[in-house]
């Protein structure tokens, strides 16, 4: 490709050279496009196709019309998984958002120890979800874990064996890992709020609480949308953590859609119904993304990307 550059070095490029050079641009996008099409777009179409087939993962793939869809949609387990997914999404959002805003506002202060705090907070985000799940599994074990070792009855619960407790543990571990990340986003957001707004409010005699609710929070609107989008769409993908921590259990108490898909596909050898669930997962993701973008009141991506 460097041949394009050499002849044009001297002075203003002749029209022909400009044309040739312009021809390079689309080619630059091709490698990314090919890779993404091969392992992103084709699988996406493929998953739709597979949802109309029956395949046990062993033999031939055969078209089977709507059989898989009927099997999945007629199965009460699907509704349950959808419900668990939704619950994880909503509850983890409701726990993480206030905590992240609070921490973010605090971290936005310039004191040095707060920067140190931010560095420490961030550690859980670096660890793999498999590692985190394994550590918590050991920590919470009712017979061999931390509670049993300390002989504190309150801590000796069947943490992963009771549906509500197990669900709470999942939410807690998710928050443990991701709150720091969202605090960081809010920290960035808070630092962008013009100081003049606060000064004006102080002249009006506003206290901290009022300033928080009448200035900080409204000014953080777009940050909240960004952070919420990440949380909500991200919550669809809590596979590793739940797979290792509870394997969807006890029974099906924490079996989210992604896990349901994996179990049906790779454990029960029903790739057709599993693909149907995957399609549902994709649709839920797209719908949520669109909804949140609508909430944002503007098409942030498109305007930014195209307005360049």
């Amino acid at each position: 490709m460097s041949t394009f550059t050499t002849p044009a070095r001297r002075g203003t490029p002749p029209p022909a050279a400009r044309k040739a050079r312009g021809g390079v641009l689309p080619w630059l996008a091709v490698p990314a496009l090919v890779l993404f099409v091969a392992f992103g777009v084709i699988p996406l179409i493929g998953v739709l196709f597979l949802s109309f087939t029956s395949w046990d993962g062993l033999g031939e793939i055969q078209l089977s019309g709507l059989t898989s869809w009927r099997a999945v949609l007629g199965d009460p387990n699907l509704l349950h998984s959808l419900w668990v997914t939704l619950l994880v999404m909503v509850v983890s959002w409701a726990v993480q958002t206030p905590a992240s805003i609070l921490l973010g506002v605090f971290l936005a202060g310039r004191q040095r120890y707060r920067a140190v705090l931010a560095v420490l907070y961030f550690i859980p985000l670096l660890l793999s979800q498999a590692a985190i799940a394994i550590a918590y599994k050991a920590l919470l074990d009712p017979n061999f874990g931390l509670g049993a070792g300390l002989h504190i009855d309150l801590l000796i619960q069947d943490w992963l064996g009771e549906p509500i407790l197990a669900f709470s543990v999942v939410i807690f571990v998710v928050s443990w890992q991701f709150i720091p990340f969202h605090s960081l986003i809010y920290q960035g957001g808070v630092r962008q709020i013009p100081q003049s707004l606060y000064e004006a409010a102080e002249i009006d005699g506003a206290g901290r609480v009022r300033k928080f609710f009448s200035i900080t929070l409204p000014q953080l609107k777009y940050t909240i949308i960004t952070s919420s989008t990440l949380m909500v769409v991200g919550s669809l993908t809590f596979f590793d953590l739940i797979f290792v921590l509870t394997a969807g259990g006890p029974a099906d108490a924490t079996r989210v859609l992604a896990l349901d898909m994996y179990k049906r596909g790779f454990q029960a050898s029903q790739m057709g119904p599993a693909s149907a669930i995957a399609v549902i997962l994709v649709l839920v993701g797209l719908a949520l993304a669109l909804l949140l973008r609508r909430l944002g009141g503007r098409d942030a991506n498109a305007s930014q990307m195209e307005g360049a």
């Binding site: 490709m1 859980p124 070792g149 994709v282």
Partner: protein, 303 residues
């Protein structure tokens, strides 16, 4: 990490230019009402929540299995032992480490390279229908939980005869990393003043030369951030190795960790030693690159 699946809603305001410039003006920040007790209490409480489990993991990994049940779990071991670590190392963890390293490096470098090229093309040739189409495709990729495509990915990898090979992990990892990388890199390339591109053009530089000599150096911080971020995601990846590999000698660290705990879950200190050991490389990277990562991520996501 779930962060790969984002719709990438961004803010028009720029942030990365801001941090230090306003320091003086900002001294009176919201703190002017006296100390923020609530925020302070929450932040110290959160520190405890973060640190206590980590502390427990670390000290327990140095305890002998026999003394583990007998001693106070929150006190450091009286006779620290490295036996657990030795056991983990002898369970082929060095091999898994190398596998993880191959997959991560093998995926991140091409992913960032092709993403950068695509981002450059999209920004510089944004008017063309082809590039607009490519851009929309990547944006769509952001909204879709790519895990949902694991079954066809599995099928394709089989048909490519790449099942149970590290290359079979690398290719989908690259693809999954592209959308977000392109988005973030495009945002930064867009911030490069138009006049600079124009003057490169007047000097007769081609697009490839402009990319290498202008865009790349000016957006280096973003490239580093995207690299670190992707490396983290791929290093910690679990689902792809779980589905696309089978033999123990193709395991990456997270998968090895899972198998190890399945086998030795009764031996809590050994399991925790494996957790510590597999996390050390990332922590080391974090200590070196933390400033870059923290500021880069903030900028990338709140942009």
């Amino acid at each position: 990490m779930s962060l790969t699946q984002t719709t990438g809603i961004k803010r028009a305001e720029t942030l990365e230019s801001e941090p230090h410039g306003h320091r003086r003006k900002r001294r009176r920040r919201p703190g002017s009402d006296g100390p923020n007790w609530l925020g302070g209490a929450v932040s110290w409480l959160w520190l405890a929540i973060v640190i206590v489990p980590i502390y427990w993991i670390v000290i327990t990994s140095f305890k002998a299995q026999s003394s583990y049940y007998a001693t106070n779990p929150l006190l450091p071991p009286t006779e620290p032992t490295l036996a657990n670590y030795q056991m983990v190392v002898e369970s082929d963890f060095p091999l898994y480490f190398v596998n993880s390293l191959i997959v991560t490096v093998g995926a991140v470098i091409p992913a960032v390279a092709v993403s950068f090229m695509a981002a450059y093309a999209i920004v510089r040739g944004g008017g063309r229908r082809f590039l607009r189409g490519v851009n929309s495709l990547f944006l769509m990729g952001l909204a879709i939980p790519l895990q949902a495509t694991i079954i066809p990915v599995f099928l394709i990898i089989i048909r490519l005869h790449l099942y149970d090979s590290l290359l079979g992990l690398i290719l989908p990892s690259i693809a999954f990393a592209i959308p977000l990388s392109v988005l973030i890199l495009a945002n930064f390339i867009r911030d490069v003043p138009k006049e600079l591109f124009e003057s490169m053009r007047l000097d007769g530089a081609g697009e490839v030369a402009t990319l290498l000599r202008l865009a790349l150096p000016l957006t280096m911080p973003a490239v580093v951030t995207v690299t670190i971020y992707n490396a983290l995601t791929i290093w910690n990846g679990f689902l792809l190795p779980l589905v696309l590999t089978q033999s123990p000698d193709k395991r990456t660290l997270p998968l090895a960790l899972w198998s190890f705990q399945g086998q030795y879950s009764v031996n809590v200190p050994a399991v925790l030693a494996s957790v510590v050991l597999t996390s050390l490389p990332i922590l080391a990277m974090y200590i070196i690159g933390r400033r870059q990562l923290l500021s880069g991520l903030t900028a990338g996501f709140s942009k």
